[in-house]
Symmetry: C2
Subunit: 159 residues, 2 copies
């Protein structure tokens, strides 16, 4: 464990050559939390395809690597330029609490700014207190008309 | 008021020629709910640009029109094909409760399926009970591992 866990974990941008590792971790992520997964093989191919096409960005974190994040960039309605959606953030169970998640969030914010994003959003579980604390530490808010408005809820459905 | 409000309100796809109307309504939407707006003139230009570029889809609803929705489509990680994000849904105050919102949601779900989307998500306020009831009536869930998991929360921050 690092003495200053939030500022010493390595991160590097995800490239298509990382797709195997990303697919395995994303499959493990879904499996751990009881979500359906199309399997690591499918995810590997899909992640490689989307990283190459420029529709997906991400980082690997830790020296395994032992974590990753994936995010999207879309043009924003509210000004010229873009906004980002942080879709996935995962650290392998045995390396949690060591600053890998923080390093991934920090890298994502910096890269999103470089990609001309003026805001970023995400969905997370009400009961995932570790994730919520991490996002809140980095300035994310769940409150509409921050800091004291009502909570914002994330909804979804299959089609 | 229609006798069968959910099935008789007209909707049509938004095209760039609708940008003025959309910009005015989106500005009013933000103003009503206390959110910042870059102004109707900016929004008109930006909406026209994004509708033409194919990065944005939407519908106009009611015969004014008196409402609209805007949504995005991105390639999904989970299979071949896409997923959608319902970004904005608005009905002018004097025409609420007449089925315009329902017609807009229904049209969005159908169009998203045509665009090869296998899921759709959105964020909304915990206290906007009318919007939540509408989305839930159309099969959206705020629960992780539906139907009885924890709530999913929407977070954001400026960059």
């Amino acid at each position: 464990v690092e003495s200053n866990p939030d500022h010493e974990q390595p991160v590097r941008p995800a490239i298509s050559a990382d797709a195997r590792r990303l697919g395995l971790m994303l499959h493990d992520f879904n499996t751990e939390f009881g979500d359906r997964s199309p399997g690591a093989d499918f995810l590997e191919g899909r992640i490689a395809e989307l990283l190459e096409a420029g529709g997906l960005f991400g980082f690997l974190g830790g020296d395994g690597p032992h974590g990753f994040c994936l995010f999207r960039v879309r043009p924003t309605l509210w000004r010229d330029g873009n906004e980002a959606y942080l879709e996935e953030l995962y650290v392998v169970p045995e390396r949690r609490g060591q600053g890998i998640g923080a390093a991934l969030v920090q890298a994502t914010l910096e890269r999103a700014r470089e990609l001309d994003c003026s805001r970023i959003d995400l969905g997370t579980s009400e009961t995932d207190t570790a994730a919520r604390a991490l996002y809140e530490r980095f300035g994310f808010s769940n409150r509409e008309r921050q800091p004291d408005g009502p909570s914002m809820l994330f909804y979804e459905r299959d089609l």
